[in-house]
Structure formats: C-alpha cells, structure tokens
Symmetry: C2
Subunit: 172 residues, 2 copies
C-alpha cells in the first residue's frame, strides 16, 4: 500500500494545494490520501469526480488525530516517510525507499509538530531549498512509480499522448 | 537560460500555487518566472524574501501579453515547452529536452488558449492523468537538473541534510 497523509488542511488557504496533492497521489497510483485539519467535503468531491471520469479506486479520508494514525500504521508494518526540507536527501535514500512495501508519506503544512519528525522512519528532503510540499510529493511519487503505466482500467475517459491538440478516448 | 511562464494568475484563487511554482523554479535553478493575469506584489515579495535568505538571483516578472512574450522568446532562439496533460509523454521527449539550451516552460491555468499549443515546440505531459501544473513543473525541472547541487553561493542560510531535526548553517 502507498498512502499519503496531508497535515492540517485549512479550507480557505489550502483548498487548491490539497486538491492537487490528492490528484497527484491518484495520478501516480497511490491508494489513499488521509488529511487532518478542517474536514472539507468540496476537496473530497473534487477527487471523487476525477475518479469517476478517469477511473481507479483512490480514496480520500479525513482523520481527526494524525499522530494516532501514524502510530497505528507503524504497528501494521508501514514505513513512514516525512517530507521536509530539513531531511536526508532523496539522492542518498531513494534506493532504500524503492524497496519498501507499505509506505505512508507524510506531507506537512506550516509548522509541522516535532512528533512527526520523531515518528518518521525517514525524514526526506527533495533539494535543500524551500519550495513546496506538492512538488516534493510529486517528485517522490514519480521516482517510486517510474516505468509504470498510468492507466486505470475502469476509466470512462482516457487521454492519449498527442503532439498538438487533445485526444481523448472512451475505452471499450 | 531556463525560464517559466505561468499563465493567468488570479490572486484570490492561485496565490499559493503560483508562489509554489516560483519557489520550485528557483529551487531547481531556473533563472526567471514570468506570470500573466493579475499583477500581485505579495506573490513577488514572497519569492524575493526567499532569495534574500537562501540566495540566488531568481527573477519574477509580471507580463501583460504572454502570447507576445512567447513569440519574442522564439525569435531569440528559445524552445517552448508547454506542460499539458494532452501532450507527448516525458518518457519519449526527455532526452531531446535535456539537450536544449534556452528553454521557456509554459505552465497553464484552466482553459489555456490554443495559441500556446500552437506556439509550443513540445506539448508535454507528465503522465496522462489530470493532476497539477505544479507537480508537472516540479518533475520536469527535477529531470532537467538531475545531478546538480542546489546551493546558492550568496545564501545567508543553508539547510544541511539531517536524519532528525533541523540543521541550518550560515555560510562564511
């Protein structure tokens, strides 16, 4: 299982970044995104709409206590990767990460409580420059899922690579 | 030169995504981000603050006419890469892209005018699933800049890779 935990979602501020986190996780074949902070039915329905059109069973779920979730996942054998600019470099950690079976990737917001640094099996940075939790997640998932095909069998619509224009197929 | 053009910035809706686009471009050693749409001094100052702290000469500049900018860049020998889910796959185009010298990467918002598809030398997709213009930019820059060191010599602060906690140095 490949799962994401998005910390401290705030509807007013994070609506688009959290939606893009969910869509990126789904595009790169993750199974699920949990999020803490404010419960947001509009965030959930944005993701579900994309599932219906483009396929897959990607799940989005609100959690009240993200520390408890991380502890439970560890009990069930998950390895926890916390994305932070202060962590170890993806350059040194990637090969180890690719071998893991059940992974929860924790994606922060501002001021991540130190609990998550302590609970993480790997605190991981994608460059040592401040940029974006979404960029960091996208790059990590891209590396983990490299060489896979990003199709869902039950899609109503499937986008085809195209030099110019838009080519969308309805699979049979 | 490695430059970005962010289309149709809307302050209310895109503030965070556009800021993260600029920070991601800067982190991956791009030279400049242009943006069209609403001029936003708060977006510009967010990027400039990071420059001051973490170094580099990354420039952010508002443009009124993005089509004109793209046409001018082409006259000056730039190749235009337009990121769109409908484009050709990064898997088939990457090696060609890595050899380019002067590049402008165009990053859309909703409903990109067809002009940009026509002006692009490469319409490029990062997976054929809808996800995020920011994820797409991050992955493309990550691939283009692979194996480089992400340090700026004139930084006031430099973040060091670290297993647990936060290690920040002041370079001499």
């Amino acid at each position: 299982m490949l799962e994401i935990l998005r910390l401290t979602h705030r509807i007013a501020r994070d609506k688009r970044i959290s939606t893009h986190l969910g869509l990126t996780a789904r595009a790169f074949l993750a199974d699920k995104m949990y999020y803490s902070g404010e419960k947001d039915s509009s965030l959930e329905s944005s993701i579900e709409k994309i599932n219906k059109k483009f396929g897959g069973q990607f799940v989005i779920e609100h959690v009240k206590d993200p520390v408890k979730l991380v502890k439970e996942k560890k009990v069930h054998g998950y390895k926890i990767i916390h994305l932070t600019v202060y962590g170890l470099s993806i350059k040194t950690e990637l090969e180890k990460i690719k071998k893991l079976k059940n992974v929860l990737i924790v994606v922060g917001s501002e001021h991540v409580p130190f609990d998550f640094y302590n609970l993480a099996d790997i605190n991981l940075s994608i460059t040592n420059q401040p940029h974006s939790e979404l960029s960091a997640l996208a790059i990590l998932l891209y590396e983990i899922q490299k060489n896979k095909e990003f199709f869902y069998k039950d899609a109503l619509l499937s986008i085809q690579p195209c030099k110019l224009g838009k080519k969308v197929k309805k699979p049979i």
